[in-house]
């Protein structure tokens, strides 16, 4: 019997909850680790970056106004969707990097578990990172974490899937929206991730995926006046310092890891905390009535 002709996938950008080609119309020829053609993946431009930031800002408003429980449920849903797409992800990782089934499966395990882990953080940030402050004056004072807003993150080159997930999970768990940039070669992995995000009840724009050249896209995003944070984990050392300088122009919160990315290491809280602001509020308390005397 003749072999069936398959339907190949178009790998697009994921912006504002929709899968779209680059506004520039450019693509990159993506091959598997053996050089076989896989896809013409969309190549993100500066303007795609700009559009992604607009979408992220809008999405972040909706995301931050959801309850922490709801955010946790959505992130858990992402884990459910990813677990269900295990086979497809394993294949995409193997095509990309020639990984063994065991190693590719392990990466998917870790990615799903990272989503589960971060889903469990959403309603605990205030508990662990906030406080009621024992001030020495007749006031009730608390300090609570709040999301910083829109974060741009570059995913590490190796660990195409886990790099993306470990960049997005802590940012999103904190109530932020994220624009993720990953190299175009990983487009087929990114495409599956986009589909997972699109089926997870995530508000449009909370996560945006751009496949493109870091050196081309990131400087504009680092300078962008409506981006609050920058995660340079996936950026080469040379580019890091330059992007950090550019980001200083708008006093962005810049995260640079101190250690190389270790997929087996526990996620920790550094990236979670890097993109949280702390708000301290004071409210008078004092004595309930005159009988209590003066508070001062």
């Amino acid at each position: 019997m003749a072999q069936r002709v398959t339907v190949t996938k178009t790998c697009k950008l994921y912006i504002g909850g929709a899968l779209a080609r680059s506004e520039s119309g450019r693509t990159v020829r993506v091959t598997d680790h053996q050089g076989e053609f896989m896809a013409n993946a969309a190549l993100a431009s500066r303007k795609d970056g700009r559009d992604a930031v607009v979408a992220a800002r809008k999405g972040q408003v909706a995301w931050a106004s959801a309850t922490p429980y709801n955010r946790g449920q959505v992130m858990y849903r992402m884990a459910e969707m990813m677990e269900g797409r295990r086979a497809e992800l394993v294949q995409a990782l193997r095509d990309l990097s020639g990984l063994s089934v065991a190693r590719a499966s392990r990466e998917v395990d870790l990615a799903v578990d990272s989503l589960v882990h971060h889903a469990g953080w959403t309603d605990k940030l205030a508990t662990v990172m906030g406080s009621v402050n024992a001030v020495s004056s007749p006031f009730f004072s608390y300090s609570a974490p709040e999301p910083t807003g829109v974060v741009v993150a570059a995913a590490p080159a190796e660990h195409a899937l886990l790099g993306l997930v470990s960049a997005l999970a802590p940012v999103v768990a904190g109530g932020n929206a994220v624009v993720l940039v990953t190299r175009a070669e990983a487009a087929c992995v990114a495409a599956v991730l986009a589909e997972i995000l699109a089926t997870s009840d995530l508000p449009a724009g909370v996560v945006n995926l751009l496949t493109g050249h870091a050196a081309e896209v990131l400087p504009h995003l680092a300078a962008h006046g409506d981006v609050n944070g920058l995660d340079l984990t996936g950026v080469d050392a040379g580019l890091r310092a330059e992007l950090g300088r550019v980001a200083a122009g708008t006093v962005k919160r810049v995260h640079v890891p101190r250690r190389p990315f270790d997929p087996e290491a526990a996620p920790g809280t550094t990236r979670l905390r890097a993109f949280l602001e702390t708000k301290t509020v004071w409210h008078p308390t004092g004595a309930p009535s005159l009988a209590g005397g003066s508070s001062y």
Partner: protein, 483 residues
Amino acid sequence: MIHLDYAAAPEAASLGRVRERYQMFLGGEFVDGHGPDLVSVNPSDETTLSTVSSASAEDVNTAVRLARTAYEDVWSRLSGLERGKYLFRIARGIAERSRELAVLESLDNGKPIKETRDFDVPAAAQYFFSYAGWADKLQHLGYGPSPSALGVAGQVIPWNFPLLMAAWKIAPALAAGNTVVIKPAETTSLSILVLAEIMADAGLPAGVVNVLPGAGDIGAALVGHPGIDKVAFTGSTAVGKRIQTELAGTGRRLTLELGGKGANIVFDDAAVDQAVEGVVNGIFFNQGQVCCAGSRLLVQESVAEELLDRLRARVATLRVGHALDKNTDVGAVNSRAQLDKITALTQSGVDEGAQRWVSPCPLPETGLYVAPTILTDASPSMRVSREEIFGPVLTTLTFRTPEEAIAKANNTPYGLSAGVWTDKGSRAMAVAGALRAGVVWNNTFNRFDPAAAFGGYGESGFGREGGPYGLAAYLDTDDEGVL
């Protein structure tokens, strides 16, 4: 003029999938116990709902042994993340079978479907979901990098929120790494046994949770069992005291969540219509069968008459009826014994000089119903001001100054909850600070969340459930004498 009657809107009882007989859940299996069968009655119409196989003292021994084995061989060897994933599955399972659980709970307990559907069951799912996320984050509690579980927890829960109390007990215990033997109330064993099914379907390893239906004697056997490392009890203060007495000197850890006589304090500058809602919710939610009920209304004298007029007008609109009618606001009380107790205590209030107002609402002809009742002109010395009625009966006292309100609110051996109604933020904060109650609700009432601690002062018990505090109760956090 149209009189709206809201044609009967019953949720189908069949959705509850009530079985003729329920079995214990022991070592991952549903098995017959060696105790006498319990009969579950539907309080809405006093018909028989089902029978439940109960445990004997020997079954308690077996359960504790199986829980210990499960702890040592399986549960304590799993990472926090893996434990958490079981709990996430259970949370999802509850959400998926939420309609079934809501109907079953309403049939078994008598509480309105509106409450089980919109509160009890979703809250139970949320507790499991929230604690699932703690399982791999214990190092963030402030008890060191790797706090360990206590071992096997013995838990006894009451009939007023059967499924939710099961969630409040089981979820943190498992998240912290313990295994559990739990005894539901003898009049309400059904929903927890469906929860057991959900846990089994989630693949929870055998013996991690064991559910033993039974009466007070089985509860006593469980909490007194030497093989238990930690006891958690929610129920009456009288039984709580007996348990504390028995455990004294044994070194076994104990948390108690007991009764209350919560004060709902309304100041003259309150948002009056919302205060009325808060008072109504405080005493008529769950038919007043809530440990943290706002069962004492403390109203500032200058606004008392008007508040009470509005309150009576509002209470008269509450619909008392069958639990499965979606428009029922107040359902049946849980048992005849409870109904008799409520009636007797209310009468004592009248006998001691309080004025009684009873809602003119119609009551169903069969079933265990008490019409919403408001007692006014009560004094602090009356039994109705001091003793927990555990029914839809509100005792009203007045005050003149904030100090007096606080003094009266605190004038009780209990200390579980209080409500404060004022538009002035500083007064809300100051009064909250002065009240000896484990939970203070400012301009609201009956708000619960797995992230927020809940528990009492004094004879309302000790220990907290919810939040990191609830988790700490199931961990070995004793660092005294350790460098």
